[in-house]
């Protein structure tokens, strides 16, 4: 059931009605049933995979919790009789037991993900004629696996106690609005709001509906319309080169943003309709002044997942600290300090690439990002020197230059995601330098991409609205601002938005109802 189908809208209407009619203590159970129905409709076999993840995580976290509790009790009871060394020994024993459960659950769950998502890629790189195992990839598996494994690691670290009710853990793992493309939530953040009993609140409900409408506007009016031009360019690399490649990068940058943030708006809005707060996943990323900043503001929940559960554990692991000390002692203090950060950064970006898909283009894209981040890290002293000499840091034109540079840098890297073939991507990069077709593009070429003049006008107006909304968001949420104005103003604005989605949305005859891009990851 796509977010953009009428079935989904009916599903939400029926669910919302039931949610606020039934006794409040049953609300979370209704959400769990709805999530399983939603997922079961997508594929009945998917239910088996997600159940395996929920059950295995439940068993492991309960075991970890029991081991920790037994240790705490034993230390409390024998506080005075144990020596420091004995306490250390008992702690080490307890940690080893906990680690065993952690590793078993991680291997099992990432094993399922690897088997379903990566086995074809690995084997086909070894045996060229390999036709594939034909595994069906469950919808959103990368998202729910990461979310559940984050919970497992948090319990292992003792951040909070394990959830004792497997069905409540099941709801956290399968909550349907975030199942397809995130955000990847944290248990301590989402669960209280997910399980709380809620009264109907008109303000929260209407904010939720407004957010959903805004998401549909981005997805149906902007992203799915731009998709036509993007597909024309990237599916015909022999015909569309030179300036078309730059145009494709620009269009894809906007399409991806509108598609992904639109999907997240719908997910957050649906959550809000039920009184559930999902974390924001974007913070106006195209206003970033550097690639590092961009990655702090784009798909935030994935970035923080990788930081907390991979980057930090690798970079401060004992072998890494030992290696760092060794280099500091024998070679150079500066290099020794950098080594853990650099190795962890490259590993994280390699994994981020692989997370996005089992293909070389994603691996190159991931490593490309890591390398650019490390280069900009190395160039920091040079930037500082430049800023000491020239007082431009706070000047508008310099900020505009930085924002534009980051947008195009990201667009160039994202081209690997577009063409899905490393060699073609490099061929297209090269064509930007060799094929001179600016006049062809301006003299009607742009009209051969599947979009007419009315589409371009509509896109220009819609993107301008998007830009103005983004600029205004610096002052806070627009819906909150609007709610302070006369009520009819909000109604007029959102009625106009609703009508524009109905009239200008890319659906119906001639349009392909497209999946959200991130649902494929």
């Amino acid at each position: 059931m796509l977010f953009t189908t009428s079935n989904f809208i009916f599903f939400i209407i029926i669910l919302t009605t039931l949610y606020y009619l039934i006794p409040k203590r049953f609300q979370w159970m209704l959400l769990l049933s709805a999530s399983l129905i939603f997922y079961g409709i997508a594929g009945t076999s998917y239910l088996i995979y997600i159940s395996l993840t929920i059950v295995s995580t439940y068993i492991a976290t309960m075991a970890i919790d029991r081991i920790q509790e037994a240790y705490n009790t034993s230390i409390k009871e024998n506080k005075d009789s144990l020596t420091r060394e004995e306490r250390k020994e008992i702690k080490a024993e307890m940690t080893a037991k906990k680690k065993l459960w952690l590793v078993l659950a991680l291997v099992f769950n990432f094993g399922i993900l690897a088997l379903l998502k990566y086995s074809d890629f690995i084997v086909s790189n070894i045996y060229r004629d390999f036709g594939g195992f034909g595994f069906v990839l469950p919808l959103g598996i990368s998202f729910y696996t990461f979310q559940t494994m984050g919970y497992l690691i948090d319990v292992y670290w003792g951040k909070y106690r394990a959830e004792r009710n497997i069905f409540k853990l099941g709801l956290f793992s399968s909550f349907f609005p975030q199942l397809i493309q995130g955000p990847i939530s944290r248990f301590d953040d989402l669960s209280p709001s997910l399980l709380a009993e809620k009264d109907f609140n008109w303000e929260t409900f209407s904010f939720g509906v407004q957010r959903i409408l805004w998401g549909y506007f981005k997805k149906l009016v902007i992203a799915d319309r731009l998709l036509i031009a993007v597909n024309t360019i990237i599916r015909n690399p022999d015909s569309y080169q030179g300036i078309y490649v730059l145009l494709g990068m620009f269009f894809y940058g906007i399409q991806l943003y509108a598609d992904f943030t639109g999907g997240i708006d719908i997910a957050i809005g649906v959550g809000q309709v039920f009184g559930i707060r999902l974390k924001e996943n974007f913070n106006r990323p195209y206003f970033s002044k550097s690639i590092t900043e961009y990655w702090r503001r784009w798909h935030i929940s994935l970035g923080t997942w990788f930081r907390d559960y991979m980057f930090f554990p690798i970079s401060v692991s004992k072998p890494m600290i030992r290696l760092s000390k060794k280099i500091r002692k024998n070679y150079s203090n500066e290099i020794g300090k950098r080594v853990p950060v650099y190795i962890a950064t490259l590993l994280v970006w390699l994994t981020t690439g692989i997370w996005h898909g089992a293909a070389w283009n994603f691996i190159v894209w991931g490593l490309g990002n890591g390398i650019v981040i490390l280069i900009s890290q190395e160039l920091t002293p040079l930037y500082d020197k430049f800023h000491r000499k020239f007082d431009v840091k706070d000047k508008f034109y310099f900020k505009l230059f930085q924002v534009t540079r980051t947008f195009w840098l990201m667009s160039f890297l994202r081209t690997f995601d577009c063409y899905r073939d490393v060699a073609t991507t490099f061929r297209m990069y090269f064509s930007i330098l060799t094929v001179r077709n600016l006049s062809e593009v301006l003299n009607g070429g742009i009209m051969n991409l599947g979009l007419g003049m009315e589409d371009y006008i509509l896109l220009a107006v819609s993107i301008l609205i998007l830009l103005m909304v983004s600029l205004n968001q610096r002052r806070g949420a627009i819906r909150v601002e609007l709610s302070k104005r006369p009520v009819f103003l909000s109604y007029i604005l959102f009625f106009t938005l609703f009508i524009s989605i109905i009239i200008f949305g890319s659906y119906g005859i001639g349009f392909d109802q497209s999946q959200f891009i991130y649902s494929q990851f």
């Binding site: 003792g158 907390d308 930090f312 401060v316 600290i321 000390k325 300090k337 950060v341 962890a344 890290q377």
Partner: protein, 74 residues
């Protein structure tokens, strides 16, 4: 405490680390700084700082870092 302040000043000489208690919340220390600081602290105090210690509460101020180090030395 002096050693910790010295290490922090090496990272960002422009920051008043004695006063600031929002080092993470205000994004003064980024993840690269934290790892760099952890390698320095491990070396200076001969301690092992595990990943679960890398929380905003432990790194928001020089005092919080000092308290974490004291706890780990014990």
């Amino acid at each position: 405490m002096d050693i910790i302040l010295e290490l922090l000043e090496d990272l960002h000489p422009e920051v008043d680390f004695e006063q600031c208690n929002t080092l993470i919340d205000d994004k003064i220390l980024d993840s690269f700084d934290i790892v760099s600081l952890v390698t320095d602290l491990s070396e200076e105090f001969d301690i092992s700082i595990a990943a679960e210690e890398l929380t905003p509460e432990n790194f928001n101020s020089a005092k919080a870092i000092y308290e974490m180090v004291e706890r780990l030395v014990d």
